[in-house]
């Protein structure tokens, strides 16, 4: 199977302390991968880097040549101002950004596509609602609809089901499976191990370094999970400069 994203000796650092340390590996094209690990393991940082929002401190991220737009990125909800006065339809239509950019108008069929995307996430009829009126679950459905419209071959989801109720999670997992069936590469940061076992064929267990990466059943073993929990969370200001050679 071809490779969608390859990481070569990737280190991502905040203030010279590694959040992701010498990560090496590949996301196969069309794979559905969960990224799990303790808090502070570098999961969100990795996703940010894959989305092009963080520059690697060392090493490389190589994206396979893909059509544009290459990446659709769903950040954690906390980064979005949900009190902003904007309608549901306007948020979803931002998914057309690659086609409309800053200046072009939204065409009739693009608006129809946005309404369809809202229907696909169970929010038909919510077009003119202001996002401040939505519950956390409804708002997450809106963001999924936007990702649907972005129509990207690589989809990055950062804790998409955090603080979301069971029914919404089930509905949105179906959307994730639909993307998988369409051979898109999906990478999701998750915390629910059972959910990962049930829905995600591939797993990267991250604790700054990769504890294990591969088929979910072989990654989420008790030994590996134990190992990831023992990752030192505190960083050490007196730590020596890392001199590890590139693998």
């Amino acid at each position: 199977m071809s490779v969608a994203v390859s990481l070569h000796d990737l280190t991502l650092a905040y203030r010279r302390h590694p959040a992701v340390h010498h990560l090496h590996g590949e996301f196969a094209s069309g794979s559905l991968t969960a990224v799990v690990g303790p808090n502070g393991a570098g999961k969100s940082t990795l996703l940010n880097a894959l989305a092009g929002l963080v520059e690697p401190s060392a090493g490389q991220i190589n994206l396979a040549p893909m059509r544009n737009p290459r990446v659709a990125y769903l950040p954690q909800q906390a980064q979005i101002d949900r009190s902003f006065p904007i309608t549901v339809l306007d948020v979803v239509m931002l998914g057309h950004w690659a086609a409309i950019g800053s200046w072009r108008g939204v065409k009739r069929q693009q608006q129809v596509a946005a309404v369809h995307a809202l229907g696909a996430v169970g929010l038909a009829g919510f077009e003119q609602r202001v996002i401040a009126e939505l519950s956390a679950g409804q708002f997450q459905r809106v963001l999924f609809a936007r990702v649907l419209l972005q129509d990207a071959p690589l989809i990055l989801l950062d804790e998409p089901f955090a603080a979301i109720d069971a029914r919404t999670t089930v509905d949105l997992l179906q959307v994730v499976h639909r993307w998988h069936a369409e051979s898109r590469t999906v990478i999701a940061v998750l915390h629910d191990i059972e959910q990962v076992r049930e829905h995600f064929p591939q797993t990267l267990l991250l604790a700054r370094e990769a504890i294990a990466w591969g088929p979910t059943a072989s990654v989420l073993t008790p030994e590996n999970l134990m190992k990831s929990r023992h990752m030192a969370e505190a960083w050490d200001d007196a730590a020596e400069i890392c001199r590890r050679e590139a693998a």
């Binding site: 929002l53 950040p75 980064q79 979005i80 101002d81 936007r146």
Partner: protein, 292 residues
Amino acid sequence: MTELYDWFIAPFAEFSFMRRALVACLALGLSSAPVGVLLVLRRMSLVGDAMAHALLPGAALGFIAAGFSLYAMGLGGFIAAMLVATLAGWVTRKTGQREDASFAAFYLIALAGGVMLISLRGNSVDLMHVLFGTILAVDDDALILMTAVSSVTLVALALMYRPLVVECFDPGFLRSVGGRGGLVHLLFQTLVVLNLVSGFQALGTLMAVGLMMLPAASARFWAVRVSSLFAVAALIAVASGMAGLLISYHAHLPSGPAIVLVAGAAYIASLLLGRRDSALQFLLRKQSHRIA
């Protein structure tokens, strides 16, 4: 009928300084109120105030170099405020200190420096002029500058409306689709400073922010969408300018504070009587709720 004419039309018909002041208010209100709405939406309401104070040392240097020269003081003020905003933003990005703290630090330095400069080289009348402006002394040059700033602002807002709104509420998305969030932020900052420089000609550094923020803060009690917030805020700003001018003319009051006080009265009225979340709505709805 003649009474209405005497009250509302005659001052403008008879005196050219009142006509100039009126046009200045229209230009200022139309552009700075929408800018204020965006500041409110970005939770940067006090940053406008900080930048207005940051104008002072630049305007003072312009004054010392060239006396009461519109261009020297305007340019100096523009450069000083842009410098403070850029330094504060740079400190926030590099050190992680929150923007409100870094802005406060730099504008206080700038403000004290400005007052020091003026008191070394000018007198207290000069200081009052810079701090409070004189809309009734707006000349043709100042009017051209203000209307130019107003036009540039409205065209720029129209051109960058979409990235500006997205950068406000979901900056991560804008960056992930390759939108130039940093550039949008810089352009917006430039618009804020331009409008403050323009307002400073008429209302002075301390009052210039009044026509920017008070109508913007009032608008949220009447409208929801960003576009309607713009319209309501601009309307309140222009009306406050007109009413303030007339009141200052008839009651022999200083015009700058009169205009800002009218805008303040509009804010209080909106707070009490507005269509959304106002005291009136709260009283009306206290007893009832919908079934779903």
